[in-house]
């Protein structure tokens, strides 16, 4: 029954958010709260020789200054510091010792009665360093590139497949070839909400922690292991997250510092980071890519080489899937895909919206455009000619792939047929106009998750799972699924998340939440339905005494006979018969691995972009953007569209503006503010159009839904780069495309 699934209902948490009722990690207030301010390292590599905190400590209201010199003894083994998203290596430990491993590393925490005093005290602390030479430039150190270490993470982030065919021979013999190099530098997530943790110190040292996280259970695991506290004494709550985009997949250092201070001072402590400090942890890694493509004269792609070299830290091997997409999207039989890392004196990179995907596809889809131009074939036609129904890496069929329909509907909506293929051929007054397109792809994953459903004595339904809602619409979508499964109005359904007392769910990432938690919600509501039906059968004079479960439906807050809706029992009557107790079920949903592993499972998109360029001044305006998405079943077209639009806006931002610029002489990101790290503003955004293509998929998960968190951004930068080429005849292979590159 789908009264709500597929409908554009408003966000159930919308009112709380716009009225300020929704509270975020730094907004939970308790009596006697102390405030911590973090001091960041002034150098990039070396060691702390001396810390003089005497002036700070003598200030009234200062409680303590924590440094590596006075921190308590903590867990010894690396394993204890590994969170659920930790890559192979040795996780960074704040205040561990005197060593400085990257610029901006937290070196001290000042805790005081007020935030103002803590901040002032922080400015009085003198730290002497002994500097060592650092290496932060990917370009200058690319000769050190090596294979990444493998670890648990490689299950979700498979390394490139083995070479197939004979690339070298076929490429060298190919009549049409391109070789290009693509570069982009570091980007930071910069969610609106800064990282913050409020640790409430409860009786007997129990901790209630309000943390900014994409997975409350992940923060709980980390705190429990590092500080050796039993799980039951650490409760992590995170009902709302003011944007994260991947940055909260791992616990950040303010969590560690707030917990450390609370335990040492035996009182509640809050630590919030500043905007500048938002540039002192994970980021999208700088990446250099080389792509060589060969085609025969008919325009069939025959050879493909895609190599990516990314940066990582000296202590962990963060990896992304950058090059594998090429082998999934195109059919050549002679392929080399390669991925290497260069360890540098930076913090470990971290997943950022479509990690690796937007990186690899941005380069691949430009290279494909270059090849199409060399062949003299329309870029869209070229992609249709080289369309593949199978994932060529794994040699598996797709569980569903309506990309062809994305191309068709997107092109029609955009008016692609009216395009003059000649570069520099289209104008609007004195401005050049360019039309470009690109493909997008991302995984459609499902993970195990648990959920609980409770029909409460007042007849309302409460469903819960310890997942997160980083603004994506999880609250709303889960409410819809639960409401439809048990025939309840959404007003009578309450979905709870972001609390470690709720049934376990994985971190919110990888675009898997709807598929994962949605399946768990569906399963637990079905299980609850069965239990309710059993109770209904036992009611005195029950119309269902001789009826089987498959013969009833849940509709209008009641159980009804499918054949005769007049025969019904209200859910209120059912719960009333349960001796004054609510009726509850907890279930686990597991992906059907046996079935899923026979298929490649992906979400696809086709993106069409129009740019207007003032050639003399180099300014680029993205005047139109159409994104056609094949994302399986769309649970809520409104929140889904918002997800895609958010990705498109970011795609524009990434293509034209975003870059964390490091001064390699000092090894520090210099534009560490939102005034100088440019993200797109309203004035940069013009017409955005989203098309959802119908796609039926019975394999990906019981809902048939594919995640939409990442796919919105994936094809956008390449579509814009290609449009810039069409407008100007200039191929800009280094993002962002700032005006100086077009002068």
């Amino acid at each position: 029954m789908t009264q709500y699934i597929g409908k554009p209902i408003n966000r159930v948490d919308g009112l709380d958010k716009v009225t300020g009722k929704a509270r975020y990690a730094a907004e939970f207030n308790v009596p006697e709260l102390a405030y911590g301010v973090v001091i960041s390292s002034a150098i990039t590599k070396g060691k702390i020789v001396r810390i003089d905190a005497s002036d700070a400590l003598s200030l009234e209201g200062v409680l303590q200054v924590f440094t590596h010199e006075n921190r308590p003894k903590l867990a010894w083994f690396d394993l204890s510091y590994k969170d659920q998203d930790a890559p192979p290596g040795s996780p960074f430990r704040p205040l561990h010792d005197e060593k400085i491993k990257y610029s901006g590393q937290p070196v001290a925490l000042v805790v005081a009665e007020t935030y103002e005093v803590a901040r002032y005290a922080a400015s009085l602390i003198q730290i002497e360093y002994e500097e060592e030479e650092h290496e932060t430039s990917l370009e200058a150190n690319k000769d050190r590139a090596r294979k990444p270490k493998s670890g648990l993470a490689s299950a979700l982030k498979p390394p490139p497949p083995k070479p197939r065919g004979d690339f070298e021979e076929v490429f060298n013999a190919a009549p049409v070839r391109t070789i290009s190099r693509y570069v982009h530098s570091v980007e930071h997530h910069n969610p609106m909400e800064m990282f913050a943790t409020t640790v409430v110190y409860e009786k007997k040292g129990k901790l209630t922690i309000y943390d900014k996280t994409q997975g409350a259970p992940n923060s709980q695991l980390y705190v429990s292991q590092v500080f050796n506290i039993p799980f039951r004494d650490v409760r992590v709550i995170s009902p709302y997250v003011g944007g994260a985009f991947g940055s909260a997949l791992r616990p950040q250092y303010q969590l560690f510092l707030a917990v450390l201070a609370a335990r040492e001072l035996k009182r509640s402590v809050r630590v919030s980071l500043t905007r500048q400090q938002m540039f002192t942890f994970g980021h999208r890694p700088a990446t250099n890519q080389t792509i060589a493509l060969g085609a025969n004269a008919d325009g069939e792609m025959t050879a493909m080489y895609h190599e990516a070299i990314s940066e990582t830290s000296r202590f962990e091997d963060y990896t992304e899937v950058v090059v594998n997409w090429s082998g999934m999207l195109y059919p050549p039989e002679n392929v080399i895909l390669d991925y290497k890392l260069v360890p540098l004196d930076v913090y470990t990179p971290l997943d950022m919206r479509a990690p690796g995907g937007v990186t690899g596809v941005s380069a691949l889809e430009c290279a494909v455009d270059e090849l199409a131009y060399k062949l003299g074939i329309d870029p869209l036609e070229f992609r249709l000619k080289n369309y593949t129904e199978r994932d060529m890496n794994e040699d598996l069929p797709y569980s569903s792939k309506e990309l062809r329909e994305c191309f068709r509907q997107g092109a029609e909506r955009f008016g692609w047929a009216k395009r003059n293929p000649e570069p520099r051929s289209m104008r609007n007054g004195s401005n050049l106009i360019g039309w470009g397109m690109a493909t997008g792809i991302w995984d459609a994953m499902q993970m195990p998750a648990r959920a609980e459903a409770v029909l409460m004595v007042n007849g309302k339904l409460r469903v819960s799972s310890a997942t997160a809602d980083i603004g994506t619409g999880t609250y709303t979508v889960m409410t819809q699924i639960a409401a439809d499964t048990l025939g309840m109005p959404v007003e009578d359904v309450l979905f709870k998340l972001g609390d470690t007392e709720l049934p376990l769910a994985p971190i919110q990432g990888g675009s898997w939440t709807v598929a994962t938690v949605g399946s768990a919600v569906k399963a637990v509501c079905e299980d609850l339905g069965k239990t309710l039906f059993k109770l209904a059968k036992k009611l005195p004079g029950s119309p269902f005494s001789k009826v089987d479960y498959q013969d009833v439906v849940f509709l209008d807050k009641s159980i009804q006979l499918k054949a005769d809706s007049a025969l019904r029992v209200s859910l209120q009557d059912v719960v009333d018969s349960n001796g004054g107790r609510a009726v509850r079920e907890t279930s686990t949903s597991l992906p059907n691995m046996l079935q899923q592993r026979k298929y490649a499972r992906s979400v696809h998109s086709a993106v069409f972009a129009e740019v207007q360029i003032d050639e003399e001044l180099g300014t680029v305006k993205v005047t139109r953007l159409v994104s056609a998405i094949a994302g399986g079943r769309i649970i809520n077209p409104k929140t889904a569209r918002s997800q895609i639009i958010g990705g498109m806006v970011w795609g524009i931002s990434k293509a034209l503006e975003e870059e964390s610029v490091m001064d390699h002489q000092v090894g520090r990101f210099m534009n560490h503010s939102l005034a100088e790290y440019h993200v797109a503003v309203n004035a940069d955004i013009h017409e955005l159009d989203v098309v959802f293509v119908e796609e039926d998929d019975t394999i990906v998960n019981p809902l048939g839904a594919k995640g939409l968190g990442e796919i919105g951004i994936v094809g956008v930068p390449a579509a814009i780069s290609n449009a810039v080429f069409h407008a100007t005849g200039k191929r800009i292979r280094e993002l962002p495309i700032t005006l100086d590159k077009l002068l």
Binding site: E116, Y120, D614, E657, R668, H672, S673, L739, D740, L743
Partner: protein, 332 residues
């Protein structure tokens, strides 16, 4: 941020006296820049003298046919003032090209003159900066200098002045009125901001204890032929990479009789070269003439790596702004 004392006097004399007798005191009006700098520990005043209650809140006609902008009138109220819009549209446009509506609602005319540079190294107290800490060196000259100066630089500083408003004020030959313990004086915009030389810690020529009370606009507003062109890394809420304020007088037969061209984003002060402007006088508007003038204005410009593109960008921007002001090209 350090702790500081705070007063809010009602009279100009009291405010000036208070500032003069207290160590490390600073005036605060809209606070849109000073508070940021205090949070970053770049500015560490011991006392803030809040001038928001001083009677400097009006825009009035002057006897000379110009307009006197009170120092405490907000940027937004100035930009949308009917007289400013009608007689000085160049100024109105320049103000609206800057910051965001929220900031312009808070920022004052006086405060705008005192905006400090956006140099990354100036803002980061862990980095060397001769402007913030004289003698500590310049991180930008051999570092990341995309937003830095190409004209009038020195070996100790290549910072720019970030204001849009000041570029228009410079083109309009505005005059700044200041008041101090020794009385009142006026400073032409040409002399208000300065080049860094060996003392980049001084942004302007206002003396300690002096208070800006008003900005006076001369009668001539170039309302018929003007343009403010701002080039930046995004369409709004970004400082200028290069901006150009142009005012032209063109008589009935199409001859240019007067020209003003001021550049922002390229120097430690709004940049003008009157002898280049002179070249336009007596000429008819044409792209060729404008190109010659543009070359002349940026003569001697020097890039430092990341900002080298600004030399060519400035040249093109001058030509474009002149084309727009002379109505040879529409403003898009």
């Amino acid at each position: 941020m350090n702790s500081f004392s705070y007063v809010r006097p009602d009279e100009i004399d009291v405010a000036i006296d208070d500032l003069s007798v207290h160590h490390a005191a600073k005036f605060i009006a809209g606070g849109t820049n000073l508070l940021d700098l205090m949070k970053e520990n770049v500015e560490r005043p011991a006392r803030l003298v809040d001038i928001n209650r001083l009677p400097l809140q009006t825009i009035d006609d002057t006897a000379e046919g110009g307009l006197r902008l009170g120092a405490l009138v907000t940027n937004a109220d100035t930009a949308y003032n009917e007289q400013v819009e009608k007689r000085y549209p160049l100024l109105s446009q320049a103000i609206l090209a800057g910051a965001s509506p929220q900031l312009r609602n808070m920022a004052t005319n006086g405060g705008n003159l005192f905006q400090r540079t956006r140099c990354y190294y100036f803002y980061d107290t862990d980095m060397p900066c001769n402007k913030r800490k004289p003698g500590s060196g310049c991180g930008a000259i051999n570092g990341y200098n995309r937003i830095h100066a190409i004209l009038g630089t020195s070996d100790s500083c290549i910072a720019t002045h970030p204001s849009d408003m000041c570029v228009a004020l410079r083109a309009l030959d505005a005059v700044v009125h200041v008041s101090g313990r020794l009385g009142e004086r006026t400073i032409p915009m040409a002399d208000f901001h300065r080049l860094p030389g060996n003392t980049p810690q001084y942004d302007n020529t206002v003396q300690p204890g002096e208070l800006v009370t008003a900005i006076e606009l001369p009668a001539k507003g170039f309302a018929d032929h003007y343009a403010y062109l701002k080039l930046r890394d995004r369409a709004s809420y970004a400082f200028a990479l290069v901006s150009v304020a142009v005012g032209l007088d063109i008589n009935n037969d199409g001859t240019i009789t007067e020209a003003r061209i001021a550049l922002g984003g390229v120097a430690h002060k709004p940049w003008r070269r009157p002898e280049s402007e002179e070249q336009l006088v007596g000429q008819s508007a044409s792209k060729e003439v404008f190109q010659l003038v543009a070359d002349s204005i940026i003569d001697g410009a020097k890039g430092y790596g990341h900002n080298t593109f600004k030399v060519e960008l400035a040249r093109r921007a001058i030509v474009r702004a002149l084309m727009q002001a002379s109505k040879l090209e529409k403003i898009s």
